[in-house]
Structure formats: structure tokens, C-alpha cells
Amino acid sequence: MSIQNTTADQQGQPEVLLDLKNISLSFGGVKAITDISFDIYEGEVRAIIGPNGAGKSSMLNVINGFYHPQEGEIWFDGKQRTGMKPYEIAYQGIARTFQNIALFKGMSVLDNLMTGRFTHMNKNLFWQALWKGPAEQEEIINREFVEHIIDFLEIQAIRKTPVGRLPYGLQKRVELGRALAAQPKLLLLDEPMAGMNVEEKEDMCRFILDVNDTFGTTIALIEHDMGVVMDISDRVVVLDYGRKIGDGDPTAVRNDQTVIDAYLGVSH
């Protein structure tokens, strides 16, 4: 089975998968995001960084449809988005993980990943209730795909374990697996390495790069560990107090004076 997504246009101008134009988001009187624009190319790893409270997670929630910005345009895969619900956006091919793991704790690893296949299963209630026939066929096909993901993430041994019982690092990996099971065009990772030890971080880095290489999945990630960000991302966008203060490849961003000031503080 081919699980290759459409790959980026290798030569010439890269294709834009997601384009955010002048996004502003506020809660009551509090401005979370002010006039931010950036784009994500097909097939790249795009990092969103910034100090605490910079609006990174809000940005992800906007992309994912949890928040609806008051101003600005969102273009995904060549189409403009208009007031879509989060579950409809999942159908468009955007999957995500959460900062505080949001797995289905009572369910096994396998069931969590199968739930990730939700958008790819479309037999209606009638067939499901009947079980034999089309619905069973569909289960088998999707189960096969989920087994690929399990192999890929090296979690064969825990496939039947309820995820609530797994250690933190493995839960993070299962959550990545659930997002991958959806075969997303765009994968959003909200601090995939937060709270991990060095070894777990290295594993996660490897998986993220592998996902990008082998499946060609476009990835947008929020991360605090600068070393990791510089290593794995193609381009970085820097936010501070809800505004964009830097955008470009890792080396350029690292040497940008505004970015350095935002992170280290400036003496007045």
C-alpha cells in the first residue's frame, strides 16, 4: 500500500500548502494574535517559535479550526476557508497533536489509532450495525494501514495496552501515531517534545524527520528547544506578543537582532 503523499515540487518555486493572510484573533478585549501572515510550503517542516504567551498555540488552533480569527484569510490547498468546524477541517486533511496529551485514555493504542482513521471510513450506521459485509471490509483495510503506522513508530508491543497506562514519552508517540493515521496533508505538532528526556527527544526528532521524508507530510510544529528547532526545521516563524517578529531559514532567524532581543530581553 502506498502511503506517500504528494511531494513538493522539487525544482523551482515551492507550492504553498497553507497561506495565512493578516490573521487577527482576540478574546473579548484581549488580543491574542495581531495581523500575522505567513505561509507553509508543501513538504517542508515549518517551526513556530516564540516566548510564552506569544500566541503560538492560538495560531495552531486557528489553523486547526478551534478558533475563528476575526480578521484575515486562510487559504488551504488552494481554497479559501470560510467558517469551518474543526471536524470538517480534519476531513480536509489537517491532523494535530496537543500540548497536553489529548489521547482517548480509556481506549487501547490500536483503538486510538483506528479512531485516527475516522475520516477515511465512510460506511454508514446501517452497515456498521450489520457489521458483516462492507463495514467489516472497511475495518480490515484501515486496520492494515494502522498496522503500518504501528510498525513505523515501533509500538508493536503495546498495541493492546490502554493508553492511560503508558509512560509519558510513549503517549506522545501514540498521539503522533493517531495524527499520522489520518494521512494528513498538514500535520500540526504542539510542543511534541515538551517534558521529554534527551533520549525520548532524539527518538521523536527521528520520527518527525522520517514522517517528513518517507510520507512527504508537511509539518508545522511549535517547540521550545532551540537546538531541536534549528536542527529539524526548514523555515522558522517567530512570534512575540501576538505579532510576527521574524520569518526565514533557521540561521537567518538565529542571527536576527529582534529575535535575540525577544528571547534574551533588552536593557532599556
Binding site: 480534519a90 489529548a102 480509556g106 481506549m107 479512531t115 475516522f118 450506521l125
Partner: protein, 333 residues
């Protein structure tokens, strides 16, 4: 076997079957509570409403007949036809699904992310609304439910067990109501199919996913609104089954809605979030109250069945507040 032993066995068997009837009601509560964290006070009234609708459709009653007659001065009550039980049940299921959609659209949808107590209040309002609505729609007189379930004691069992007692003892065979047997069978089928459905289908997994984490469920493409309609439809279906069984046993009337009160101790015992808990809890309460009435009742003047279940549930609350199968409440500091 001694007659005493056989009497006790009979009491236990009858207790188990009464327990199944309690479980049927408790099941509806658990389904909705698990999926949406709402304690649905209206579950009992839903059972009454479903039973009234079934009888109404079956006997060809004209809905809102009293209202229509009062407004237009007409004198009509029946269409003049009888609908076969099977077809009437299917139509009633349709009505309950429609009801689920209306509840989602006009109540739940507007109360997303509200405190549980507010949702609870909403279901209280819903219960009283449905009670009145059911009366206006189908009339408030007591109706008999006849969908062809056999009732009365099983003569075959009585004769069969007659020979079990030792020679010369006063024993007339075991009395078990056929209706109870059917109810048990139906409940077992219902629970097994619900469990299989929630374990092995896409929608079943989605139901469990929503019970665990709303945000994550949305992010994988599950529509909460669709799931709520499905959950309330299933709860409506369970209410219909409970309504049929209880209605066939004791008539379709207002007191049918009070069976919800019998489900409360079952839920305390079994836990609000566990389907097996609802079943085991029901069985324990059923057997417990029948045995207590049989063994201790005569000494203290009888009528213990009214309160025994609550006392048992209170004792459980002291030692295991989350119920037998409920999720453990662990607070990390």
C-alpha cells in the same frame, strides 16, 4: 432438595429478573452520562413517552386528539385501524430518533461547555415538558401494552420443578413470570449488541472517543453534534425497550416514569460510567431487595422493597463512592 432451599432459589431467580428490569432503565442513564457527562433526569419520562407512543401508534390513536377536538369541536379519537406490533415498534424508534434530534438542536447545542448542573436542570425541564406533551399527544388515561409478549407464570416450569422437592414436603413448584424471562433475554441481547457495537465499529469508537476527550475527538474529524444525536437515539431506544417491558408488566401510566427512581441506587452501586456496572448493579439490587424482603421482611412488617435499594446504595457510597465499576477518582497533588 428441601423446600426452603427451593423457595430461596425462586426468590433469587425472581430477584435477578427484577434486577434486569432495573438495569434496563439504568443503562439509558449510563449511555448519556458517559458520552456527554449529562445526568439525564428525563430518562424515566422518555420510557413513559416511548411506551405511550408505541401504544398510541399500535391502537391507531389520533395524536393530539383532545386538543383538536377542543379547538374544532370535532369528536374523533381513533383512525380506526390497528398497526401490527412490529411495525409500531419501528415507527416508535423513528419517533425517538426524531426526539433525539430535537433535543440536540434546541437544548444541547445551546448549552455546550456549560456546567453539569445547568445541563442537569435542562433535563429536569425536559422531563416535565415531555410528561405534559405526552399527555396532550396521547391522552393521560391508563393504557395496556400488548405487543405479544407472553405473561403469567410458566406452567411448564411449575410442573417440572414440582418433583424437585423431597417427598412429603409442601411445595407447589417454582413460579417465574414468562414476561420476566423475555425481559431478561431482551436485556442480554441489548447489552451484548451495544457492547459489540461500541467495541468494533467506527461509530462505537467515536462514541468512546467523545466520552474521553471532546477536543481530541473533534481533531480527528468526529462531529460532536452527530454523536450526541446518536447517543440520545440509542438512549431513546433503550427507554423504549424499558417502557415496553415495564408497560407490559404494570400498564402504561404516569408511575412508569418513576422507574427512573429505581435506577438511581443501581447507578450508585454500579457507577455512572459503566455499562457492565449498570447490569451488575441492577442484579445486586434486584436479588438483594427480594432476598431481604423474603428473609427479614416478615420480622419487621414487610414493605422493605421501597427503601432497601437506597440503604444498600448509601452503604456503597461510604465505601466506594465511584461505584463498583466506576472510574477511579484520583486527585494528584
Amino acid at each position: 432438595m428441601s423446600a426452603d432451599f427451593l423457595y430461596t432459589l425462586e426468590v433469587i431467580l425472581n430477584g435477578l429478573m427484577a434486577g434486569v428490569m432495573y438495569s434496563l432503565v439504568a443503562l439509558g442513564f449510563v449511555l448519556i452520562f458517559k458520552a456527554s457527562g449529562i445526568f439525564n433526569y428525563a430518562q424515566g419520562v422518555m420510557a413513559l413517552f416511548a411506551a405511550m407512543t408505541l401504544v398510541g401508534i399500535q391502537t391507531g390513536q389520533i395524536p393530539f386528539a383532545h386538543l383538536i377536538n377542543a379547538i374544532f369541536g370535532t369528536e374523533m379519537h381513533h383512525f380506526g385501524w390497528q398497526v401490527p406490533a412490529f411495525l409500531a415498534i419501528i415507527l416508535t424508534v423513528g419517533v425517538m430518533v426524531l426526539f433525539a434530534m430535537i433535543v440536540e438542536k434546541y437544548i444541547l447545542h445551546h448549552l455546550v461547555n456549560q456546567e453539569p448542573i445547568i445541563l442537569f436542570m435542562a433535563t429536569i425541564g425536559l422531563a416535565y415538558f415531555m410528561e405534559g406533551f405526552g399527555d396532550i399527544m396521547w391522552g393521560s388515561e391508563i393504557k395496556t401494552m400488548d405487543v405479544g409478549i407472553p405473561s403469567g407464570g410458566s406452567l411448564w416450569l411449575e410442573e417440572y420443578t414440582l418433583g424437585w422437592a423431597a417427598e412429603g414436603e409442601r411445595y407447589w413448584g417454582m413460579y417465574i413470570d414468562k414476561l420476566d424471562m423475555v425481559a431478561t433475554l431482551v436485556a442480554v441481547i441489548l447489552v451484548v449488541s451495544l457492547t459489540l457495537f461500541s467495541q468494533y465499529t467506527k461509530t462505537g469508537r467515536a462514541l468512546r472517543a467523545v466520552a474521553d476527550d471532546h477536543q481530541a475527538a473533534l481533531s480527528v474529524g468526529i462531529s460532536l453534534r452527530a454523536i450526541w444525536v446518536i447517543v440520545w437515539s440509542i438512549a431513546g431506544f433503550v427507554a423504549l425497550v424499558a417502557g415496553i417491558m415495564w408497560g407490559a408488566k404494570s400498564g402504561v401510566q404516569f408511575s412508569l416514569s418513576l422507574i427512573a427512581l429505581k435506577a438511581l441506587p443501581v447507578l450508585m452501586l454500579g457507577g455512572f460510567t459503566s455499562i457492565p456496572g449498570a447490569i451488575i448493579g441492577g442484579l445486586i439490587i434486584g436479588v438483594g431487595e427480594k432476598l431481604f424482603e423474603f428473609a427479614i421482611g416478615p420480622m419487621i412488617g414487610g414493605a422493605t422493597e421501597n427503601w432497601f435499594a437506597y440503604v444498600l446504595a448509601l452503604m456503597f457510597l461510604v465505601f466506594r463512592p465511584q461505584g463498583l465499576f466506576g472510574e477511579k477518582i484520583i486527585e494528584r497533588v
